[in-house]
Amino acid sequence: MSSEQTLSADVVIVGSGVAGASIANELARAGISVIVLEAGPRVDRQHFVENFRTLENKPSYQGPFPSVPWAVHPPNQMTPNAYLHTTGPDAEAYQQVYLRMMGGTTWHWAGCAWRYLPSDFELKTRYGQGRDWALKYDDLEPFYYQAEVMMGVCGPDPAKEDLGSPRKQPYPMEALPISYAAQQFRKLIDEKTPWRVVHEPQARNTRPYDARPTCEGHNNCMPICPIGAMYNGSYSVYHAEAAGAKFIPNAVVYKIERDSANKRVTGVQYYDPDKQSHRVTGKYFVIAAHCIETAKLLLVSADEQSPEGVANSSGHVGRNMMDHTGVQVTFISGDKALWPGRGPLLTNVIDSFRDGDWRNERGAYLVHMVDDNQVDLATQLAISKGYVGRELEEQIRYLASHTVRLFSHNEALPDPENRLTLSKTQKDVLGIPHPEVYYKLPEYTVKSCDHTRSVFRELIGLMHGTDEQWTPGYFPQDHPSGSTIMGTDPKTSVVDGHCRTHDHENLFIASSSVFSTVGTGNITLTVAALALRVADTLKKELLHA
């Protein structure tokens, strides 16, 4: 059944996360009409904060964000999972979580806002591994800066701490002062190792910015910053709406229509929660629905014209799935009290393994010492050890002040065999198949993780650590990418260097799904920069047509 009224706009965007909302904002400010279709509901920050406070399992990042039946997202990182079905030898390493909500998954990111290194865009040329992107660092540099201004990124002065990604402008805000625990960690690394600890660039306010307050160190960036000192996609939604963009929540796009030549997209169809179908037409279309949902939508749009799915003449939609699959260990430091959990979650990083000649055989990585409040974990641990009364309280204080958690983001490679397909057995209430991902960790990543483990063991030794608890296997980092891979050859890639699909001239993709390689450092700033570049292209074409 279809509604009588057809919606229409110059640009129709699917997905309201950082990518979709920032494009909507840019276009609406230029006077271009925009409709954004978001599958999930619109919920305000305070509900998420309350959900968090009443949540028993506080480390559950998805916990405060229950899904709705018409836009299910993975409930947790468990395998098997009620929504994202993973298979293959490393199924558990690809159990990603994300949110289908107005504002997107940055509701529970930690604000880490890395630029990729120039070498990350040329992995094939420089190291003979993976692929090259169809753009260079310099092409993206202005948009990296635009994204940093949009989000409000704080970071170090390049003259004092060069993070390896050349900048034409300083960071919009001064770097966030690192915590006492991180200061001690940095001192140890400086004195005892050849590595270094740097300030992590973050989309977090070190002064009032964009009508949002300075960070007060609630230590809850993930799953929810209680005061909005950290940027998330909802702020781009608010700005875009103020500029005139129309956002429609609970609109589950299930079909991308094309013209008879199959060259241009003519409209999209979405279901509302009652499974009423609605049609939205436009001149340009942007799919900005997260790596997994974007590939899923292209595949479910398969029809007689495109039996393998929309934009999929290459057969690469859903392939080349990547992540920053990492390693994680928790231990008790034998040195002085650190009291992690004072300030934001992630403020410092070892960046000594981001680049080097060894990338011709193993992946790069970043190491985080997480500044996570450990009181609850310490309490559970001390009770389980059998302590009671006064001794229990001493243990809680000791464990909470001495627990150290390290984790890494390790680089994957694009492998066409690591593939997202539509589940043949599982469907949601609207009849749309669930996503299924086959995953085998690339040897390149395995070697990188092995290297990380040896570094972690060295760090544990330097900190006189005991009670090591290694997270079994590999740790998914929720940075899925690659499912609509970028390239210059339409036979082996889905989008070109401007994120335009090779197959359909007015269809763009704004997502980590276009990444040709995954580098190191959280992916969001690169997603935002690519999205802003898409907005720039659309503005040029629409305003100067």
Partner: protein, 222 residues
Amino acid sequence: MKKEWPKENPCVPANLHTVSPNAMRLARLLRMSRRDMLLTGMGAAVTGAAASLSGATAAETHATSAPDAGSILHSGPEAAQFMAVSRKLTDRPALDLRIGNALHAGLVQGNPARQGQISTLHGLMEKGQFASAAEFAAAAEKADPALKDVIHDILTGWYRGVADGKVVVYRSALMFDITKDAVYPKTYAEGGPFYWTSQPPEVARPTGHPALSPSKFVVEPT
């Protein structure tokens, strides 16, 4: 009109009323209320749920409605026993009665056998002369190994603020009281900008020993 979703689908709640975060909270409270009513035979808890409908925050509602229900259920000797056993197990001369009542109600709701075990612990405590929580807990486990679990539940209640897998209190959990010179409960920091750069207090390595045998520790999924 909303359609009814197919019930056979494994990944979704069966009823639409559970789907928004607000509705989920309400549903949780209503479930709790139904149990309260069964236990008490009275409708007092419905008042608590109605209060949440009228806009009280979930955390406050948990903290205030449960003690109300608890005070009806536990104004008698069981409540006093729970508090006395709790004081002994925490080595503390005084504990908050309202929180205690809420924890007690939650514990017994989650596992009705707990009431008898709390009484057993109380009887043991009355008979012996235990100088400390550690002595008492060790004696209890020796008398009946099953008592270890109820001791864990009581300590989890007071220190984590959790009973029957639910948050009864968050900020007021004792784990935050004993660490408040160094850290804040997540979402409640009040140290001012960049407080985290200052040096927190040193903590001496503890010398005490566990009183109970160790239990398996399972980290919940993220």
